[in-house]
């Protein structure tokens, strides 16, 4: 038995070596160099050999030490189980610690401009993830064009702020309403679609919005983008180093030195508050009849109809509310960047947000945070190794899917329990 296993392992690893040779031979081995306007092939067989050996030996070792174990699945799921157990029992404390940490984060000694920028970016993705979680996690509608609403929010904020000079707090709800309207617009034609078909249509919708922004030059300035978007002010007090004559700015009003970090810190708290509002709203609405209907719709649409739940309205509200938060996040993005162009709203953004929701565990709010920190953090750590970033990103997704096929946090808590409501 043992010997036979050894033999099959060797066979298997030789085969792996062959596959590696077939793959890496042409990709790595045949390097073309332009010399005197002629392309020359410089073969690099030594490197290929090393790669093939590493792959074969690696396969052999995993065969021996990983797949040979009977308790393989035991180890995998026990790690995941202990994580989710920990998060389940201590969920409240962890959430509280995380919130306190994010509140004091800007004033920690090691926090610098670079970390703040990453934190702001992460919070933006967390907010987008929470918004999309309503559509994908609760209502079960796979939306691959979520970035469209982000774009609608950003552009409507920018256009209103530039042309009418309205302040951030007026433009923010307008941007949300616009995005929600586009959510309903997308919702109507896809009411009857589910799963793969829905994914394709939403993907197309995302691209349509981007191409529209690219070509409607009169309104959006096309590929040139919109510049000069007003920066947010602290309740009317702008962040400026040299105030105009007689103008109150943030630092003159509080009588402190001007520091460019002040604006960054303000932006940080702004997105933190927006994200937390998204989270609280989602937690609350999940326990309301509409939230329960979303989840029921995800589980079985026909059963929903037989109980008199209106699937059309239920789906449209999910699209609209999800889109609204995307729009809020978009207007934050616009005011932070002060410049937006269709470049920022490509499909890869949608893909990252969907990845965050799926890897986090569909419907799990904490999962979204973990997945964002993990994925965006990883992209940042690999910033210096530009060409390996996407490999690391993809590798991380594969790892999560191997160890936690249903996402980092896949446990679902009932929205209402009998013990609680009867003991009240």
């Amino acid at each position: 038995m043992e010997k036979k296993f050894f033999q099959t392992s060797i066979k298997d690893s030789l085969f792996t070596g062959l596959i590696a040779l077939a793959l890496f031979g042409p990709i790595v081995g045949l390097r073309t160099v332009a010399k005197n306007e002629v392309l020359e092939v410089h073969p690099k067989w030594f490197i290929v050999l090393i790669i093939v050996i590493v792959c074969a030996v690696g396969r052999f070792l995993t065969n021996l030490y990983v797949y040979n174990r009977d308790q393989k699945t035991g180890i995998q799921s026990s790690i995941g189980k202990s994580i989710s157990n920990f998060l389940d029992t201590k969920g409240y404390q962890i959430a509280l610690t995380a919130i306190i940490f994010s509140v004091i984060f800007p004033f920690l000694p090691f926090t610098d401009r670079y970390l703040m920028d990453i934190a702001i970016m992460m919070l933006t993705y967390i907010m987008l993830g929470w918004g999309l979680n309503i559509v994908i996690g609760l209502a079960g509608l796979l939306d691959l064009g979520y970035v469209a609403f982000y774009a609608v929010g950003a552009y409507s904020y920018a256009l209103f702020a530039i042309h009418f000079g309205w302040s951030f707090w007026i433009c923010l709800p307008i941007a949300g309403i616009f995005a929600a309207m586009f959510g309903v617009l997308l919702g109507f034609p896809v009411l009857r679609l589910r799963g793969d078909y829905l994914a394709i249509v939403t993907l197309a919708f995302g691209e349509m919005i981007r191409i529209l922004l690219l070509n409607w030059y009169q309104l959006t300035k096309g590929p040139d983008g919109l510049t000069g978007i007003p920066r947010p002010s602290f309740f009317g007090l702008p962040f400026k180093s040299f105030p105009d004559e007689g103008e109150q700015t943030f630092h003159t009003f509080f009588g402190i030195e001007y520091d460019p970090m002040q604006r960054i810190i303000f932006l940080y708290y702004l997105i933190l508050v927006l994200a937390l509002i998204t989270n609280l709203f989602t937690i609350k609405i999940r326990r309301l009849p509409i939230g329960r209907a979303w989840e029921a719709l995800r589980e079985d649409e026909i059963a929903c109809k037989s109980l008199g739940v209106n699937p059309r309205n239920t789906k449209l509200t999910a699209f609209a509310i999800g889109a609204m938060f995307g729009g809020f996040a978009g207007s934050f993005f616009a005011t932070r960047q002060a410049f937006i162009s269709p470049e920022s709203f490509t499909f890869i953004e949608s893909a990252i947000i969907v990845a965050i929701v799926v890897l986090g565990g569909m419907g799990s709010q904490t999962g979204v945070v973990l997945a964002t920190v993990f994925l965006i953090g990883l992209i940042e750590v690999f910033r210096d190794f530009e060409s390996y970033r996407m490999i690391a990103f993809g590798g991380a997704m594969v790892l999560i899917m191997i160890f936690r096929p249903r996402g980092i946090l896949a446990t679902r808590k009932p929205t209402i329990t009998l013990e609680k409501s009867s003991s009240k």
Binding site: E295, A303, S306, G308
Partner: protein, 264 residues
């Protein structure tokens, strides 16, 4: 003569050239159990799908008589039959919300009522007292039904984790939670053992006698049909071949022929 709860007249349903239901007329009484039986493919489930708005009938009429109004069921499309007319149904292959808890399943059934109470979510967001009260009432109603089927202790477990027989019962009480006038059950005894079938009979009789709800029942399990039906309609190839009491049905030569074939 007391008014019938449900009047189906000349109902016809065609799929292309296939006539699934051919000129079917029957009626169902309030607080009576009416069974629809027949061999496989006789069109029983199609009748249900027409009644509950999942199919649009080709021809014919279906009327539901409430205390003081007569509703034409053909006017309602899918979910409105349950919402406006109060016709609830269950499915041949159980359709619960498997990843939601047992209690949540029953709460979804009370969606429309709660949705109004939550002021289309806005009042609910701020925990308005009227909504909290309505929600508590809905939980009480759910608890009442769970007590009846003996599943109160599992209220917070996922519905998909329940044993098969309990899932059947849960689906029936979930349909009852919309407070229907007519309850349409599609093979509720399929896959149940003798003990569970007996419990099902008890539950259906309770709904009929205590809740005064009319029941329309599709069933293959004759022990259930014969024991609790007040009235039996027999279909074959989309046509009604017999109707009468359970005892009459058992002895009817047409029915025996449809099920067992003719002697050569």
């Amino acid at each position: 003569m007391s008014q019938k709860l449900l009047d189906v007249e000349n109902l016809t349903m065609k799929f292309g050239g296939l006539v699934a239901i051919d000129n079917l007329s029957f009626s169902a009484d309030k607080d009576k159990i009416t069974s629809i039986i027949g061999p496989n493919g006789a069109g029983k489930t199609t009748v249900f799908n027409c009644l509950t708005g999942f199919y649009k009938a080709t021809a014919g009429s279906m009327f539901l008589n409430k205390e003081n109004e007569r509703l034409n069921l053909r006017k309602f499309s899918d979910f409105k039959v349950a919402q406006k007319a109060g016709v609830a149904r269950t499915f041949q292959n159980i359709r619960l919300f498997p990843q939601m808890s047992v209690l949540e399943n029953l709460m979804v059934a009370q969606h429309n009522k709660l949705m109004d109470a939550s002021g289309f979510t806005i009042l609910g967001l701020f925990n308005s007292p009227s909504f909290v009260k309505k929600e508590k009432e809905a939980v009480e109603i759910s608890k009442y039904w769970l007590d009846i089927i003996g599943l109160t202790h599992r209220a917070d477990d996922d519905a998909g984790d329940l044993p098969y027989g309990d899932q059947r019962k849960l689906e029936i009480v979930r349909a009852m939670c919309i407070n229907p006038h007519l309850l349409c059950l599609d093979e509720p005894a399929a896959g149940l053992n003798a003990k569970e079938s007996a419990e099902l009979n008890k539950l259906l009789l309770f709904i009929k006698n205590e809740k005064k709800t009319g029941i329309l029942l599709i069933e293959h399990d004759m022990s259930v049909v014969m024991e609790i039906s007040d009235h039996v309609v027999v279909l074959n190839y989309g046509k009604k071949i017999f109707q009468g009491s359970a005892k009459e049905t058992k002895n009817s030569p047409e029915v025996i022929e449809a099920y067992l074939g003719t002697e050569e």
